[in-house]
């Protein structure tokens, strides 16, 4: 086997010219590379296979002349095996004599596999430093060198700027349209939604009808100051009992009024407050207002202010006192019942309690001859019954929204409440009974008209539903 010095092609023994490039072949024997065993020309400076500096290699490794290699025709790898037979102490003799299986021997080298498209281009400097120096090369029967710990990646191939396939572009366009679209505005309702919407339409019209009827029925009496609707009517027994409880108090006595409601219920309870307090003042009583609700003190001030202005009597400020808000819920009520001065130090306007004549001779709310509770619900009244009425025996009258009144009847019939005034209707009845018509009587027309309109609506709608059901059955 003779190697061409020009192109490195192996040529048959005895060849004079390279069968690949046509160069004249040297007849001298080749020398084997001490590292990979590849045959090289006698005057070669570097190994044609692994690139080893053959001159220095000879100096460093092998002092004697490089061994001659008789390369058989079977393949280059056979040269390595033959190199094992070189003189003792040579570099190849230190290698382990493992054989190479034929399938691996005939396998292509990785360098030959790497095509330009595979991305195996020149490495950057940092990656070059990691590259194994002499791991490649034709296996010469030595131990297979250890793989580098850090692999050198192939350079990623740059992606070409090719347009996306039509189906991808279509999908992207569709996504853009959908994501930009106002779905709620443009989406067409499904058939089930259309059916649901159709079913809801009568309810919507019903609500609108209710709103209109109630608005007209309440506004007309207000604008006509009562109009054709009379404020007369029977006096409910709980209202009559409440009026008796006030009537029985001697002039100069002090009554406590607890404002335990918020502004949402003021429409129903302010007339009650004004009717009861107006009657008390008319009978020469002193009135103390207090609240355990944050809004109660301000609502009390509004009611008391209206009463003061309506009566326009001298000394009214001393007879009607707003003690303000006390925190603590039931604990505050209990404290007030035991000792008002322990729970409150000044009134709404900041006056000390010692300056309030209505409080002279009074220790706690339990000592008072009458306590009026204007409660938003049953629980508000219950708290005063439990903390003031039951332990101290103070007479209690409740003013509540009309909705709550039936729930307090058991307390009234059992004697825990002297009387109950329910809503605007109760206030109007109280005013008629005491002969002091006020906001209750004036508001009753609107309330009555609204209630009748509501009752009429309920009955009418029921008749309408019943007729509709009947017609549907006949239709089937």
């Amino acid at each position: 086997m003779i190697f061409c010095q020009a192109c490195g092609t192996t040529n048959r023994e005895g060849s004079r010219f390279c069968n690949q490039c046509g160069a004249r072949l040297s007849e001298t024997a080749d020398i084997a590379c001490p590292r990979c065993g590849a045959p090289n020309a006698p005057d070669a400076q570097h190994c044609q296979k692994c690139g080893l500096d053959l001159a220095r290699g000879r100096d460093d490794v092998w002092e004697g002349p490089l061994p001659r290699v008789d390369v058989p025709e079977e393949g280059a790898s056979e040269a390595g095996r033959r190199a094992l037979g070189t003189p003792e102490g040579g570099p190849a003799s230190r290698a382990r004599p493992y054989g190479l299986p034929p399938w691996l021997d005939s396998a292509e080298r990785p360098e030959e596999e790497a095509s330009p498209e595979s991305g195996a281009g020149p490495l950057p400097a940092d990656e070059e430093a990691l590259a194994p120096e002499a791991a490649e090369g034709e296996w010469s029967g030595e131990a297979i060198p250890i793989e580098p710990v850090v692999g050198v990646p192939y350079r990623a191939r740059e992606r070409s700027e090719q347009p996306p396939p039509p189906e991808q572009r279509e999908a992207a366009d569709l996504f853009a349209i959908v994501s930009d679209e106002d779905v709620l505005a443009s989406r067409r309702p499904s058939p089930s939604e259309q059916k649901h919407e159709a079913e809801r339409r009568p309810e919507m019209w019903l609500r609108l009808l209710v709103a209109l009827v109630l608005l007209v029925s309440t506004m007309v009496p207000v604008l006509l100051r009562g109009g054709p609707i009379s404020a007369e009517g029977s006096i409910p027994p709980p209202v009559a009992a409440a009026a008796r409880a006030v009537e029985e108090l001697p002039p100069g006595a002090t009554a406590l009024v607890a404002f335990e409601y918020d502004a949402g219920l003021a429409g129903d309870l302010q007339p009650v407050a004004e009717a009861l307090i107006g009657e008390m003042l008319g009978r020469g009583l002193y009135v103390l207002a207090v609240s355990t609700q944050p809004e109660g003190a301000a609502l009390a001030e509004i009611a008391l202010d209206r009463i003061r202005r309506a009566r326009a009597e001298p000394g009214m400020d001393a007879r009607v006192v707003n003690l303000g808000y006390v925190t603590g819920g039931q604990a505050a009520i209990r404290a007030l019942a035991g000792d008002i001065r322990a729970a409150i130090s000044s009134d709404w306007e900041g006056r000390g309690l010692a300056d309030i004549p209505a409080l002279s001779g009074i220790g706690g709310a339990g000592d008072l001859p009458l306590v009026v509770v204007l409660g938003r619900d049953v629980l508000a009244v219950q708290a005063w019954i439990e903390q003031v009425g039951a332990p101290y025996g103070a007479p209690l009258v409740a003013g509540v929204p009309a909705l709550v009144e039936p729930a307090l009847v058991p307390y009234q019939t059992s004697g825990q409440l002297e009387g109950v005034v329910g809503g605007v209707a109760g206030a109007a009845a109280f005013e008629r009974l005491t002969g002091r018509p006020g906001i209750g009587v004036r508001s009753l027309g609107a309330v009555r008209a609204g209630a009748w309109a509501a009752g009429l609506l309920i009955v009418t709608v029921n008749i309408g539903f019943a007729l509709g059901r009947l017609l549907r059955r006949r239709g089937r």
Binding site: S230, S234, A266, V326, G350, P410, W452, N462
Partner: protein, 201 residues
């Protein structure tokens, strides 16, 4: 200790206040009064804490631009305005004006909406489709119209009927409810005093 101490405090305080309610004893009554005053002070602090928490929650909502944050701005501004108004002139005309012309109409309007909702709900709920629905419809109509029937009108006859409904069947039902609630409150109170329930933990 962390569990026992609160329980002992609850047991002691609850027992003293309960005994103060039933017994006439100067020492017990004084102790009960002292504890009640403490409860009032604590409630005032709880109110302040609630206000502080409200401010923190809405400040965070504004800072994070959470949904509805403009409403939080309004809440904070309103709270600040009413607080300043109250602190500057407690009991003054300005605070009364604020209640009378801002808070009162707003809450009264919201309360008035209940009438619309209640009537439209009643119109749909009280239907003659069943016996129960028919009974509800009849009772509701009688109580509604009977409460507000004018003197001398044809509907005045509904007044006594309405009074009977309220004072007999309705009162029986309400009494049952009230007794049940009272028993429930007693049982809850005893469970707390006997250390079975510990809501303060």
């Amino acid at each position: 200790m962390r569990r026992i101490l609160p329980a002992l405090v609850a047991l002691l305080v609850g027992s003293v206040v309960l005994l103060d309610y039933f017994l006439e004893n100067p020492v017990l009554n004084a102790a009960g009064r002292f504890l009640l005053e403490g409860a009032i002070v604590l409630a005032a602090f709880a109110l302040l804490l609630g206000l502080w928490n409200l401010l923190l929650v809405h400040e965070r909502q504004i800072r994070r631009r959470e949904p509805g944050w403009p409403a939080s701005v309004v809440i904070l501004l309103s709270t600040g305005a009413s607080l300043a108004l109250g602190l500057a002139g407690w009991g003054s005309e300005a605070l009364t004006w604020f209640y009378r012309f801002v808070l009162f109409p707003l809450e009264a309007s919201a309360g008035a909406l209940l009438a619309f909702v209640a009537v439209s709900a009643a119109a749909r709920a009280w239907r003659l489709s069943s016996l129960e629905g028919g009974v509800m419809l009849a009772v509701g109509a009688i109580v509604l119209v009977g409460t507000l029937a004018p003197q001398g009108a044809a509907l005045t006859a509904l007044g006594p009927l309405r009074d009977w409904i309220v004072s007999v069947p309705a009162m029986a039902a309400v009494r049952g409810l009230l007794l049940g609630v009272a028993l429930g409150i007693m049982a809850t109170g005893l469970r707390v005093l006997l250390w079975i329930d510990r809501p303060y933990e």
